[in-house]
């Protein structure tokens, strides 16, 4: 059972409705997680007492992920590209520089590359060798992005993977997979949905999910918003 659970953690949840708050999760896996908790705590204590790390800095790093960095940043960048042709042009020239002209989030240091979905080409991002991800604009990657099924299949069976995310593309649309094998990081700019011509930048940003910017999703306009 222990092995099965650990394997499940690599490959994503065993069932689709397994999402639980952290406390339930800990309770469920009891001994194993507390063993990791103890081992990690021991390592942190040793590294702290030896003067290599500062626990306050560690707290701050975690807090950055919890409060400052996330897909809301990428969504703002995409929405700006949808409404501002000049920004869009600059984004595809140098995504790092363009994103950093926006303000309101920590400057992007990564060598960011924006790739555009069109009726002709759909882009999909993966890291087959580890789990490289545009953290500065999307935050931490989900477990599935880091899992063996996604890393193994995105490059050989992208249509199958997209189908599992409920994405089916027109026959004429080519698929382009970007394997993040270096320190370049990719941000997919999805197509702006029809019927959003008069939407504000903020309303548009709300349509841009994390998966849209990886390529495993497409922006969907809620039915009630269309009417």
């Amino acid at each position: 059972l222990k092995r099965a659970l650990r394997y499940a953690s690599l490959c994503g949840p065993a069932t689709k409705d397994v999402a639980m708050p952290e406390d339930d999760h800990t309770h469920d896996h009891g001994s194993e997680l507390s063993e990791m908790q103890l081992r990690v705590k021991a390592l942190e204590t040793i590294l702290t007492e030896k003067g290599y790390v500062d626990p306050a800095a560690l707290d701050q790093i975690v807090e950055n992920f919890e409060t400052r960095i996330g897909p809301h940043i990428g969504a703002r960048v995409v929405a700006r590209a949808w409404v501002d042709p000049d920004f869009k042009h600059r984004l595809f020239e140098d995504a790092t520089a363009a994103a950093n002209t926006m303000g309101g989030f920590d400057p992007v240091a990564a060598h960011l590359i924006a790739v555009e979905n069109t009726p002709e080409v759909h882009n999909l991002v993966v890291c087959t060798l580890c789990s490289c991800y545009p953290v500065s604009v999307l935050g931490l990657p989900p477990v599935w992005y880091k899992s063996a099924p996604y890393r193994s299949r995105a490059v050989i069976d992208p249509k199958g993977v997209l189908a599992e995310f409920g994405v089916t593309l027109p026959e004429v649309t080519q698929i382009r997979i970007w394997d993040s094998t270096a320190e370049t990081r990719f941000l997919v700019v999805p197509m702006r949905p029809a019927g959003t011509e008069h939407w504000s930048e903020e309303q548009l940003a709300a349509l841009v999910t994390r998966d849209c910017m990886i390529g495993t999703g497409v922006p969907r306009v809620p039915q009630e918003a269309v009417r």
């Binding site: 689709k16 040793i46 950055n64 240091a109 063996a148 193994s152 050989i156 094998t181 270096a182 320190e183």
Partner: protein
């Protein structure tokens, strides 16, 4: 090790991709601490990011597959602190400090963490680029026993240079303490048919980010 479990592109048998609805940022508090420890230890520059990846690749295939993402990071961290003489195996085993730490050049401070700045890997070019966009190239068939970022599925395959990314830290040397050795980096695109055979979908293309030493003119 290059031909190890981490190089998964194109493998079969792992099953469907299953997304977790409303996935939490971390699944346990220790995952957050491992994430932060990796960042803070990385900032000391005792080892490089590529060295940290290589440490994960040294895990046995069974351990690699049966560990979660942050368990792999934790195992790699333990391996690195021992390997570089920062912590003794006896200290890890006992969970206690048995001797003073060694003096490191750099330590991540609270202010560093607040600034939330990460590093760049672009470097000045040591010479002109060998390839330009539109050039046909063949990925070399290499099987080094140390770290590389040329995935197995692309080795020996014919592709096209699509973009020149500039000069970047070369992972193959950076991982083994042999220096940054900056090399030109290219986006190289392959057809799915070149990678996976004539049965593959002609509407699919895959690109890798390939360092110049991985490529031959074709």
């Amino acid at each position: 090790m290059t031909n190890s479990m981490h190089d998964m592109g194109g493998m079969h048998g792992f099953g469907p991709v299953e997304a977790e609805p409303n996935e939490p940022l971390f699944h346990a508090a220790w995952e957050a601490r491992v994430r932060a420890l990796q960042r803070a230890m990385g900032a000391t520059s005792v080892w490089t990011l590529d060295g940290f990846r290589a440490a994960q690749e040294l895990l046995s295939p069974l351990t690699y597959l049966s560990s979660s993402y942050y368990e792999r990071w934790f195992r790699a961290l333990e391996r690195q602190v021992v390997r570089y003489g920062l912590v003794g195996e006896d200290e890890l085993a006992s969970g206690r400090v048995l001797r003073p730490g060694i003096l490191l050049n750099r330590k991540l401070t609270l202010d560093d963490a607040k600034a939330n700045r990460s590093g760049r890997y672009d470097r000045p070019a040591p010479g002109p680029a060998r390839f330009k966009a539109g050039d046909f190239v063949r990925a070399r068939n290499i099987n080094p026993t140390t770290h590389t970022r040329l995935p197995r599925y692309a080795r020996g395959k014919l592709g096209t240079v699509e973009a020149v990314r500039g000069c970047h830290v070369f992972p193959d040397t950076s991982a083994v303490g042999a220096g940054e050795n900056p090399r030109w980096l290219y986006a190289v695109v392959f057809t799915a048919r070149e990678l996976w055979g004539e049965e593959a979908d002609p509407a699919i293309k895959v690109s890798i980010e390939a360092f110049e030493p991985y490529l031959l003119p074709a």
